[in-house]
């Protein structure tokens, strides 16, 4: 059985607080910037959201899904596959954008 000793109720509560705070931060920033700073660069805002979401994902995986307490080999073999998504995302977004450009330039 895996090292269940790792996680405690304190850690669970701490994670809950972190996730809540990050979510509220996201919503807050979205609302404030949407309402008061419409000229704020969209890409920067989106980057901010992406980073915060990845942070949330990290906490859910590490604490709730117990990954922090598994052996390194196990974490490696399970999560390494996700690396493949990086190029998938980049290539597809680039493609999507190029359809837009194609349609407006040659359509």
């Amino acid at each position: 059985m895996s090292a269940e000793g790792g996680i405690t109720k304190q850690i669970i509560m701490k994670t809950l607080v972190i996730l809540s705070v990050v979510t509220i931060l996201e919503i807050g920033v979205a609302l404030i910037i949407g309402a008061y700073f419409p000229t704020f660069p969209k890409w920067l805002l989106n980057l901010f959201f992406v980073v915060l979401s990845l942070l949330k994902a990290f906490y859910i995986t590490a604490e709730f899904m117990h990954m922090k307490y598994e052996t390194k080999g196990f974490v490696f073999w399970t999560l390494i596959g996700l690396v493949l998504l990086v190029w998938f995302i980049i290539a597809m977004l680039y493609e999507g954008n190029s359809w837009l450009v194609n349609n407006s330039t040659w359509g």
């Binding site: 493949l84 998938f88 680039y94 493609e95 359809w99």
Partner: protein, 594 residues
């Protein structure tokens, strides 16, 4: 005590739990193999039918009308049926024979045997994996008899052709059945794949470290990982396609005027489907070829009585191929309107695959160099595999180069390339595996060797006879998936060559019955092997008793002390040292290979 219990367990089994809903990996392997063989015959027969049309486009064959009815009016196959045939041929061979039939058989048979486990991690899931595959098979088979025919949009089912029943008759019910069958197939392959990965990672016997595993297991391991990670893309793509077909969404459809009306869908992209499809489709060809590579590595080493050359390099090259297989998918789409910049990146990534592939080829050749080669039928097919893999591999360098691909894309050159490198090689690997592990499948019975030799040389000659001339046709620019070339003066100058190809295909198909007869007759009449280990092999499966029972080894599972490739080791008594033999004093001192 353990022994008697195991046998007792064996006797408890009823017919149904032993032969039908069996949870024993050996029985499931046999089920996959036999289903795969049946599909192989059906898929092969389809290729004979459309080769008849391509080889003798103006001839009439009355027998076809007898057999196929309105699909071959007047003895000549109609275009709609021709396209249904090529579609189903591709689907059946790629997914049902070379994925399920190959991986399903050898993963199931070899994983528990070669890593020293009683069975798969979850025998129940394993059984379900087969039965989902069987269900998928049944549905796909039924679709062949639909009134409007099976799916006919190509095995790649590119929309809009596959999304619109108006576009081709097979895109109606035929396509629906195709999608249902493939959804079940994906579930089956997921259940199988999860089992294989987990069993290999978790259930190795004592001493069987990862770097002591036979290369078959390494290959199957990466195959399973590829399957687990790539089939979801097809699942997602198929779900979206189902929505486009049935609920009027526009993920893949845009600005279409067909059947006299303009469809409401706007904004979608057919290229999107191609991306998703090939995100599965390209790794899929490695799902097909990797197990064959593993089998061939094992068979070459055993029968050359020589350790596989560069064991670690082999593992790294499989790893490299696995990784690269996921990031090169768009090389199937250079001419699809892909962004040229992205295209050039895909070209670079694609060409890199040639490096690990070359390493593997050189390692195989180095393995037989200065060996002591025993030409069993399995060994013949393994050498045939290396030959076809080279022949098909080098043409990949042409097609991976997007500039050359402008001319070669969707010509017979492509057909020649992927049939030689993927279809032939994988089939050769499969044959090698069946001949080699037949005694393990069927209680120590051996297949008939001389029939095996005949089968091999007939297959090798006709295989090259079919696919080699296709390069020439393709280099002349003749497009694939043409029902007839008669309309084009540029394309219709190869009647003689096409007839030759068709003749080879028919002979080659007939030659496969030598194998089929050998396979099924040997179950009953095959010579019983004198020893447990007829090939003097090192791996663990040859230490199991001939009698099959659920649990593989009576008593304890043997402990492993060395890698699988100690053949002809200097100082050893025999030219093989089974993995179960403890290391000697001298061996402990020398730097371990692994």
């Amino acid at each position: 005590m353990a022994d008697t219990h195991a046998h007792g367990h064996h006797h408890e089994e009823s017919f149904i739990s032993k032969y039908i809903f069996s949870q024993d990996h050996k029985m499931i392997a046999k089920q996959f193999l036999i289903t795969g063989i049946i599909w192989g015959v059906i898929g092969g027969l389809m290729s004979v039918l459309f080769r008849l049309q391509l080889g003798w486009p103006l001839e009439k064959f009355p027998i076809l009308e007898t057999l196929l009815g309105h699909w071959a009016e007047g003895g000549q196959i109609v275009p709609e049926f021709y396209y249904a045939l090529v579609t189903m041929h591709g689907t059946i061979l790629v997914f049902f024979v070379l994925t399920a039939g190959l991986s399903g058989t050898f993963a199931n048979l070899l994983i528990p045997y070669q890593i020293g486990a009683r069975d798969m991690a979850s025998p129940l899931l394993n059984m379900l994996s087969f039965w989902f595959f069987f269900l998928a098979s049944a549905i796909m088979f039924y679709s062949l008899f639909l009134p409007h025919g099976p799916a006919a949009g190509g095995w790649t089912i590119y929309p809009p052709l596959s999304a619109l029943p108006q576009a081709i008759p097979g895109s109606g019910d035929g396509m629906t059945f195709w999608l249902i069958a493939m959804a079940l197939f994906i579930v089956s392959s997921l259940m199988g794949g999860l089992n294989y990965v987990v069993t290999i990672l978790n259930m190795r016997t004592k001493g069987m470290s990862m770097t002591r595993m036979p290369l078959t297991i390494w290959a199957i391991f990466f195959t399973a990982i590829i399957g687990v990670l790539s089939f979801p893309a097809l699942l997602a793509a198929a779900l979206l396609l189902i929505f486009d077909r049935s609920f009027g969404t526009s993920f893949y459809l845009a600005d279409i005027f067909i059947g006299g009306e303009a469809l409401p869908q706007v904004g979608g992209s057919p290229i999107l489907f191609q991306h998703l499809f090939w995100f599965l489709g390209h790794p899929e060809v490695y799902i097909v070829i990797l197990p064959a590579m593993g089998i061939v590595s094992e068979v070459l080493s055993t029968n050359a009585r020589k350790p596989i050359f560069g064991y670690m390099a082999m593992i790294y090259s499989i790893l490299g191929i696995t990784f690269l297989s996921f990031i090169v998918w768009a090389h199937h789409m250079f001419m699809s309107g892909l962004n040229p910049f992205i295209g050039s990146i895909f070209m670079v990534l694609t060409i890199i695959i040639a490096v690990p592939s070359a390493v593997k080829v050189f390692n195989w050749i180095a393995t037989i160099w200065k060996g002591n080669i025993r030409f069993t039928p399995a060994m013949l097919f393994a050498i045939g595999f290396v030959s076809t893999f080279i022949a098909g591999g080098v043409t990949g360098i042409f097609l991976g180069n997007s500039t050359i691909d402008i001319q070669l894309h969707d010509t017979y050159f492509v057909v020649a390339h992927f049939h030689i490198v993927m279809a032939l090689s994988a089939i050769f690997g499969m044959f090698a595996g069946v001949y080699h592990w037949y005694p393990k499948l069927f209680h120590g019975r051996m297949m008939n060797s001389h029939m095996g030799y005949l089968h091999f040389f007939a297959t090798l000659l006709t295989a090259y006879g079919v696919f080699w001339p296709m390069h020439y046709i393709g280099m002349a620019g003749v497009p694939r998936r043409y029902y007839s070339f008669e309309n084009f003066t540029t394309f219709n100058q190869f009647d003689g060559l096409n007839a030759f190809i068709s003749a080879c295909a028919i002979i080659g198909f007939a030659a496969q019955f030598i194998f089929i007869a050998n396979f099924f007759l040997s179950i009953f009449w095959g010579r019983k092997s004198k020893t447990l280990n007829p090939w003097n092999s090192n791996t663990l499966e040859w230490t199991t008793p001939l009698e099959h029972f659920h649990g593989n080894w009576p008593g304890e599972i043997p402990e492993v002390h060395r890698w699988a490739y100690d053949y002809s080791k200097p100082g050893a008594e025999n030219d093989y040292i089974p993995q179960t033999t403890p290391l000697t004093e001298e061996e402990l001192k020398e730097p371990a290979h692994h």
